[in-house]
Amino acid sequence: MDLKEWFANRKNRKENKEVAKQPMPDEEYCALWTQCFQCREYLYTRDLRQNQLVCPKCHYHFRCGALDRIEYTADAGSFKEIDAEMQSSDPLNFIDTEAYPRRQEEASRKSGLKEAVITGVCTIGGNPCAIGCMDFGHFGGSMGSVVGEKVTRITEYAKQNHLPLIIVSSSGGARMQEGILSLMQLAKTSSALKDFSEAGGLYISLLSEPTFGGVTASFAMLGDVIIAEPGARIGFAGRRVIEQTIRQKLPSDFQTAEYLLKHGQVDMVVDRGQLKDRLASLIAFHARARTRSRAQAV
């Protein structure tokens, strides 16, 4: 939710001080070479991308955009986007130091996306499913009306078409510029997921770096199966807000995927390299069970 904080934290984050001799550039990978955020190694960008944006040296999982995620997760060529054209309006006529529509344009220019989530259908290891992938690179992955609407629609689509649903979260939280309407998206998406769940649908939630605020406090935490990516930071409140509130230092691994696993909040932490197979296994397992149990439904 607190984007500024997120950026502040990112700078302070567990830097490998011994290796860190070079000044640190932004995490965005540049044209040819990318410096690893964790081990500070310079990596050939093409190799890094072929390794699904996981550092081959130290295993650091780089942030993964929606299009990259679909490429790494869906069977090649199987993805078909839904609601591709949906765009935000400006219901509050919101202006801070700049008007909201201008900020939206900027966000799109930077990300190449219309909104912070891409939804559609695809197959994973041959298993058809509905999928939504958030992109932190667009407006900090914040959830306004469009993100809420697209997540709701893909959930409804999955329900109508008896498809398993996968949502990959990556978000700073709700989008302030749409005020109370952003907040209502938490309830809208959760309500759609309730209907989906009652219809027996399988929902796998993948939490990726970073997932905070309103997204965590709604659809991201409602998976029948919740998977987190290694090292991803996931939480409700931001680290700084908590430190200010409780006036004590937090554990260094606080709000990491591994910390969440230890505290019973996620089912498993899965390496990006194994993710596709794991998703395929989970979907197939539940689909086979469904076929068997259908025979005895009353």
Binding site: P91, M176, S190, D195
Partner: protein, 325 residues
């Protein structure tokens, strides 16, 4: 002029009014010895009433915020005491904690048996600390969920009272999965088949407020506010300045009337002049009247179209929230 439990402490923007009130008081003391001052007194009282009216009809968003956060503002326990002195409190999440920031009870409202779930900020210092200043922990939301399920089982309508800066941001709150606690309440509350009416009585702070706010009808007290993030948080992120809280209040459209205009809530409930803390009994009566009206309408809906219609009504309402092209 009826008052709350104690003499209302004036807010900053009320200073002119407070000054005038002091002068009137001074005059009243002199009145016994100098009956000729009665005319002056009446003029000043008229002046006071007119200033007060004008003050409260031209409030800025940040003034509403100040009233909503007024330390004497009535809290959930105050309303419950006025509505049903014999209400029965239900404690605990059954799993290790009884979060004082979330109050739950069985309450008789006119002829209706209702489950009330409300946040509680705490009045005295110690109580404030026990209540985390009205910020529930995951255990508080899970206690609420237990009572939500109780309501569903026994066909009891649910009233929620919202006055919270938000869910508690703490170490154990994160460890105990604050996000999941909120999400699960959204998930479950969206689908109960009993009437749910939510009232924002003070601050409606973000997901921590919404977690008990997924209702068929949402109403707000006149001076209450409801927002996706605190105005302080908004100002600090978007303006990178703590001085811009008033701008943030304005930009976010967080007052009751603005949110009514956005179509998110169903009614703005009038407060006693000066705010609910000027007259607890009056505020409680207004709020109860509005709640009971909505509950009865929803009960009618259930009688005509069945309990599932109540659930669909709520889900359809939230399905429509959002603006997109």
């Amino acid at each position: 002029m009826a008052t709350g439990e104690k003499k209302p402490i004036p807010l900053e923007f009320e200073q002119p009014l407070a000054v005038l009130a002091q002068q009137i008081e001074a005059l009243e003391v002199q009145l016994n010895d100098n009956p000729e001052l009665e005319g002056d007194l009446e003029r000043m009282q008229e002046q006071y009433r007119s200033l007060k009216r004008s003050l409260y009809t031209n409030l800025r968003p940040i003034d509403h915020l100040a009233i909503a956060r007024h330390q004497q503002r009535p809290y959930t326990r105050d309303y419950l005491g006025h509505w049903d002195p014999n209400w029965i409190e239900m404690h605990g999440d059954r799993k290790g904690m009884d979060d004082a920031a979330m109050v739950c009870g069985l309450v008789q409202m006119d002829d209706l048996q209702v489950i009330v779930i409300g946040t509680q900020k705490g009045r005295a210092i110690k109580e404030k600390q026990q209540c985390n200043f009205g910020m529930p922990q995951p255990e508080g939301y899970r206690k609420a969920l237990r009572l939500i399920k109780h309501a569903e089982k026994f066909g009891l309508p649910i009233v929620t009272l919202i006055d919270t800066p938000g869910a508690y941001p703490g170490l154990s709150a994160e460890e105990h999965n604050q996000a999941q606690a909120i999400a699960e309440n959204l998930f479950e509350l969206s689908a109960v088949t009993v009437p749910v009416v939510a009232a924002v009585t003070g601050e409606g702070g973000s997901g921590g407020a919404l977690a008990i706010g997924v209702a068929n009808r949402i109403i707000m007290l006149e001076h209450s506010v409801y927002s996706v993030i605190s105005p302080e948080g908004c100002a600090s992120i978007l303006w990178r300045s703590n001085d811009k809280v008033s701008d943030a209040c304005q930009a976010m459209k967080m007052t009751a009337r603005e949110i009514l205009n956005l179509g998110v809530i169903d009614e703005v409930v009038e407060e006693p002049l000066g705010g609910a803390h000027h007259d607890y009994a009056g505020a409680a009566a207004n709020l109860k009247q509005a709640l009971v009206k909505h509950l009865k309408e929803l009960e009618d809906l259930g009688q005509k179209q069945g309990r599932d219609a109540i659930r669909r009504d709520r889900q359809n309402k939230f399905r429509l929230f959002g603006a997109h092209g």
